[in-house]
């Protein structure tokens, strides 16, 4: 009696290998795809930077007035320096929850905390 390996044709092998490769690629993508809460920095329509909120960074982004500096640490993300006159963006303090937003309107820099819909989040948006 022949074993399964002896029965399989070249065509069988090709189909099996193709399906296996496609499945493993898909599963590997799922396993490595970025998940969780992220910091997204934009200016106009352009995304300047994105990273997990739990990955410490010190960053600087140039707006029309000059560099806006950000820090991502265990408190969340906050603007530490800005060329705008009122420094309202600095006084907004840290953002850490999904939907939180920091903005330097004069320097046209937006910082948003983004995450997949979390049914346990305390709120979807903050009214202020």
């Amino acid at each position: 009696m022949k074993t399964p390996w002896q029965i399989m044709t070249v065509g069988d092998w090709l189909v099996v290998l193709l399906l296996l490769a496609a499945s493993l690629t898909g599963l590997a993508w799922v396993a490595t795809a970025p998940q969780g809460t992220r910091v997204v920095v934009t200016s106009g329509e352009q995304v300047l930077f994105t990273a997990p909120v739990d990955s410490p960074h010190s960053l600087s982004f140039d707006g029309p007035l000059g560099p806006t500096r950000l820090v991502i640490d265990d408190q969340g993300v906050r603007i530490t320096d800005s060329p705008c006159s009122r420094k309202t963006c600095i006084s907004m303090g840290p953002a850490r929850h999904s939907g939180d937003l920091l903005a330097c309107v004069p320097n046209r820099i937006l910082v948003r905390i983004d995450s997949p819909a979390d049914p346990k989040a305390p709120y979807d948006l903050l009214s202020r």
């Binding site: 399906l19 937006l110 948003r112």
Partner: protein, 331 residues
């Protein structure tokens, strides 16, 4: 075990299907922000294929930008600027007339606590300027001459100014109107679940999947803290507070919500949150209630059966309208 070709192929196809299923996003939600109307406008939309959502959100942002060009006092070519520059008034666009009609109605019902004619006063204070300072009381008095709820009259699209120097400022209502119109655009495009937030003027369309939207209300004196959380669906939520745009001098806070009687920042409240059907109405009511203070503010809300309010008084005490409780989210 014997060789079973269909079974093996079937198992591999099932594995492939599983991996592709896991690759599909659980929640087709897009979230975009733009700086428009002097503030951050956020739009979150869900429940449709992302391509259609992107098209709808683009159209909503375009509508807000279009209205900014009509209603802003900072754009010299806007409808509002032309009206302010006119001697005795002029015909305005249908959109401007709609905003004026609603604003004048709230102005009359609030006894002038909401006022569309404070353009000169707002320009005098320069709260958002680089070096804000307290204007001289004579200058404030001069800026208030000829202002008030009857200083402007509207007949269809024809606006009449009682005095030539009257300067119109729709800052207390235009953002809300733009959000209302942008929501209408999203609805036309078939969007059934969305949120638009323009610097505190917010509309929540439909629901998050299987539950209403949960909106945190900023504590006016504790940065980053939430005063309470409400649950809403197909409603506007608007907050006005003295903590977003202000400067301090000699330990006194000077903020951007002015009492039209005195020309000074209103002192009765720290913040006011309104829940109602339209963002434009919520915007106007939040300002009017802030100026009136808790007691008279709640009386004004009594004239609007579909509006509810949460007021943080100047001393930090909380005051709510009778129907507010039904929006409160369980802790």
């Amino acid at each position: 075990m014997t060789w079973n070709r269909p079974l093996l192929i079937g198992l591999l196809v099932a594995l492939l299907a599983l991996s592709w299923w896991r690759l599909q996003p659980d929640d087709e939600t897009i979230h975009r922000s733009q700086l428009l109307m002097g503030t951050v406008v956020e739009i979150m939309a869900a429940g449709m294929p992302s391509g259609k959502l992107e098209t709808a959100v683009d159209a909503a942002f375009a509508e807000i930008a279009r209205l900014d060009k009509l209603l802003s006092r900072y754009q010299l070519d806007s409808d509002v600027s032309h009206l302010s520059q006119s001697d005795n008034g002029r015909q305005v666009t249908a959109e401007t007339a709609e905003v004026l009609a609603l604003g004048l109605d709230v102005a009359l019902r609030s006894g002038g606590a909401f006022d569309l004619t404070l353009g000169r006063l707002n320009a005098l204070w320069t709260i958002d300027g680089e070096t804000p300072s307290i204007p001289h009381h004579d200058a404030i008095a001069a800026a208030l001459i000829g202002t008030g709820p009857t200083a402007l009259t509207l007949d269809s699209r024809q606006v009449t100014k009682q005095t030539t120097q009257l300067q119109i400022d729709l800052g207390g209502i235009a953002k809300g109107y733009a959000v209302d119109r942008a929501i209408a655009v999203l609805k036309q495009q078939g969007v059934t679940s969305a949120a638009i937030n323009a610097g505190g003027d917010m509309y929540l369309l439909g629901q998050r999947p299987e539950r209403p939207w949960r909106i945190g209300i900023q504590h006016p004196r504790q940065k980053g803290a939430v005063l309470e959380t409400v649950q809403v669906s197909d409603q506007a939520v608007v907050t006005s507070g003295d903590y977003e745009r202000f400067f301090e001098q000699d330990g006194i806070r000077y903020h951007h919500i002015f009492d039209p009687q005195s020309g000074q920042p209103a002192r009765g409240c720290q913040s006011v949150t309104i829940i109602t059907d339209s963002v434009a109405l919520g915007d106007a009511l939040a300002t009017a209630v802030f100026v009136l203070g808790p007691k008279a503010g709640l009386q004004l809300l009594g004239q609007y059966p579909r509006a509810e309010g949460l007021i943080v008084a100047a001393d930090g005490t909380l005051h709510t309208s009778p129907g507010w409780e039904r929006y409160r989210a369980a802790p």
